[in-house]
Structure formats: structure tokens, C-alpha cells
């Protein structure tokens, strides 16, 4: 496994899916005559997925945003796996610290 190639691949796939969902959602929203009454008000993952599956324009865009926000986090996880496989203890430590802080920030909401 090559670190450069796998990181680049993960980033590219995440951005492509996110932007594609945003474009599809925007397209549906325009096709429905720019009707904002169908916009989701509740942002739980379950709600977003359920709305996206029914073809709700805002649900599809929000799903794209969730995929996009998850992309850098997935990149860090992937790097951790790589350094583990390479038995590179120093960088396993560095990546693990970054991931731990990132998860703390994500779940505690303590970041600007």
C-alpha cells in the first residue's frame, strides 16, 4: 500500500461523492420549482438518510455534506492504518493523537 496513492484516492472519492450529491440535490430542487417548504429542519443522520432515499432535495445535499465532512477524518484513519501496517511507531503515535483530538472535538462540539 502506497500512502500517497491511498490518501489521494480517499480524498478524491469523498469529494466526488459529496459534490455529486450536492449537484443532484440542487438539480431536483430546481426541477421542483425551487420549493423550500420541503427543506429538512432536523439534522440527525437517520433523518438525512431517510429524506435522501425519498428523493428529498435538501436531504440529498445534506447527505453530500456529511460525506464531505467525513472525508478528512477518513483520511486520518487511513493514515493510521498505513503506519500500523508499516510498523512505524512514531507516526502511529502522531496520527493516533490527531485522531483522538479530532474525535474529541467532533463529539464534544468544543471547536470553533
Amino acid at each position: 500500500m502506497d500512502l500517497n496513492r491511498s490518501v489521494a484516492y480517499a480524498l478524491r472519492v469523498g469529494v466526488a461523492i459529496g459534490a455529486a450529491l450536492a449537484a443532484i440535490g440542487l438539480g431536483i430542487w430546481a426541477a421542483q420549482g425551487f420549493d423550500s417548504s420541503t427543506a429538512l429542519g432536523n439534522y440527525t443522520l437517520g433523518n438525512i438518510v431517510a429524506a435522501a432515499l425519498t428523493g428529498n432535495a435538501s436531504g440529498i445535499v445534506y447527505l453530500g455534506i456529511v460525506v464531505l465532512i467525513a472525508t478528512p477524518v477518513v483520511r486520518v484513519v487511513l493514515s493510521l492504518v498505513y503506519f500500523f501496517a508499516e510498523k512505524d511507531a512514531k507516526y502511529m503515535g502522531i496520527t493516533a493523537v490527531v485522531l483522538a483530538m479530532l474525535l474529541f472535538a467532533l463529539f464534544s462540539g468544543r471547536i470553533a
Binding site: V7, G18, L68, R110
Partner: protein, 279 residues
């Protein structure tokens, strides 16, 4: 409105990708001043677009071996810890305190810009060898520059200093809402002697992580509007693909010069914001 946002986001993606900045400096003023979007919603949408710009351009730069992955991951310890610290300090840096911080950092950025302008004839004076920590962590890098055809090898010097400054960059970006790249790129270039193209690419790679954490908070608070975010995401991805192409064809010294000028403009804006807030 959607079309305007789309067009401006192409420019933001281009500038963000080329200079390692993310692009919030263009999107936030545009949304608030031109479109009349409330600040919180503008920041929420902008953060999502920064994640998109960073990820899209980093995918290309990582593939081109322009990004120094190890250096980026090492410095992320500083930026992420700084962003968390900044969130805890936010209560103290309100009103006049925040205004003073704006002016102080504006002044520091003017200094950074002046140093970059003074050294505009030559990309970072190369460090002759990796020192202590940089050598232990194998931070040295090399990249092929398609513009000059030269394979540039460089050593990273003063890694602990740059880590410390990354921590400060994280705190400042949390307190002032200014992307960390503004501080990150000159720090890597001037303190650690990383060539400007590698510094910009590495900064782009790093800012996605902190922007994603911040974006998730705005998202969960319901401050990411899909009608703003959708055209932004699509636009910045298009802009970033132009920006990464320009990075390939632009000589490093031109990027350095443009960055220094951009830095000066941002510094002036920060000082102005500080002065207006202090009143």
C-alpha cells in the same frame, strides 16, 4: 443568487487551492456583504466549502508528491490542539480583547509579508541539513516542479518552532475565524525553509481536518444551509481544479510574491476589523 454564489466559489476554490488558504477569505465577505447572509450561516457554509477545496486540491497535490504528508500530519497535532484550545478561550477573547488580537495578528502578518517580499528573489534559503526532530521524524521532502522541471529536495529546519506556531495558528483561527493557512504557509516557508509550493500544498492538506471539525459543529447546530452549501461545494471543486493546474504551471517565485501581496491585504483587513471592533 445560486448562480452568483457558484461563480464566486470558483474564484474562492482557485485562490484557496493555489495558496493553501481554503478560500473562506473570499466566501465569507461575499455572503455577508453582497448577499446579506447572516454571519453564522455564512461561516457554516464557508467551512463546508473549505473542506471541499482542501480535499479536492490535496487529492491532486498528494498524487503529485507536492504535499509533505509526514510534515502535514506532524503539524496537525499543533493545529488541532490549537483549535480546541481556541474554542475554550473564545469566552475571554470577545469585544476589546478580540479587537486587540485582530490588530496584533494583522501586525504579525505584515511582518511575515515583508519578510516574504524581501526574499522574493529566491524561494526559502534551503536548510543545509535536517536538525534534531526533523531528522528523527524523517520530515525532509522532495518534489518534482512541473513548471521548472527541477526536482527540488529540501530539509525541514526548526520543526519544534513550526509545531509551536501551528498551535498558535490553530488558536488564532478559532478565535478570529481566519483560516490557519494564512499563518501556516509563511511559517513553513520562512521558519522551516519549506519551498513555497510544498508549503502551500501541505497547508491545503492540513486545513481540511480542522475545517471538518468546525464544520460539523455548525452542521449539528443547523447553521449549514443546503441552498448555500450546494453551489459552494460544486463551485470550489471546479475552482480548485483550475487552481491545482495553475500551481503546476506557475513558477514558485511568482506564487511567493502573490502570496506576500495577498497576505498584506488580509493583514490590512484584520487591522481594520480590529479597529472597528475596538470602537
Amino acid at each position: 443568487m445560486v448562480l452568483e454564489i457558484f461563480l464566486v466559489s470558483i474564484l474562492a476554490g482557485l485562490v484557496g487551492a493555489l495558496f493553501g488558504l481554503g478560500g473562506g477569505i473570499i466566501i465569507i465577505p461575499f455572503l455577508t456583504l453582497v448577499e446579506g447572509v447572516p454571519v453564522q450561516l455564512a461561516v457554516g457554509a464557508s467551512l463546508v466549502s473549505v473542506v471541499a477545496t482542501s480535499s479536492a486540491s490535496a487529492a491532486t497535490y498528494v498524487n503529485d508528491h507536492l504535499t509533505n504528508l509526514r510534515l502535514g500530519m506532524f503539524l496537525e497535532i499543533g493545529t488541532v490542539a490549537g483549535a480546541i484550545t481556541g474554542a475554550f478561550l473564545a469566552g475571554f477573547f470577545q469585544g476589546p480583547n478580540q479587537a486587540i488580537l485582530f490588530i496584533l495578528f494583522g501586525a504579525i502578518l505584515i511582518y511575515g509579508s515583508a519578510v516574504m517580499l524581501a526574499g522574493r528573489k529566491r524561494d526559502s534559503a534551503p536548510a543545509v541539513q535536517a536538525d534534531g526532530l526533523a531528522s528523527t521524524l524523517k520530515l525532509s521532502g522532495d518534489y518534482p516542479d512541473p513548471a521548472t522541471g527541477v526536482r527540488t529536495k529540501y530539509f525541514v529546519s526548526r520543526a519544534p518552532h513550526t509545531l509551536g506556531l501551528s498551535y498558535i495558528a490553530g488558536i488564532v483561527s478559532a478565535l478570529l475565524g481566519v483560516g490557519g493557512g494564512i499563518i501556516q504557509v509563511p511559517t513553513m516557508n520562512l521558519v522551516s525553509k519549506v519551498p513555497v509550493k510544498a508549503a502551500s500544498a501541505t497547508s491545503n492538506f492540513m486545513i481540511g481536518v480542522t475545517a471538518a471539525a468546525s464544520a460539523s459543529v455548525y452542521f449539528l447546530r443547523g447553521q449549514v444551509n443546503f441552498l448555500l452549501a450546494a453551489p459552494l461545494m460544486i463551485g470550489v471543486v471546479a475552482g480548485a481544479s483550475i487552481g491545482t493546474r495553475l500551481m503546476r504551471s506557475t513558477p514558485p517565485l511568482r506564487i511567493k510574491l502573490l502570496f506576500a501581496i495577498l497576505l498584506l491585504a488580509i493583514a490590512a483587513d484584520m487591522i481594520l476589523q480590529g479597529v472597528t471592533r475596538y470602537r
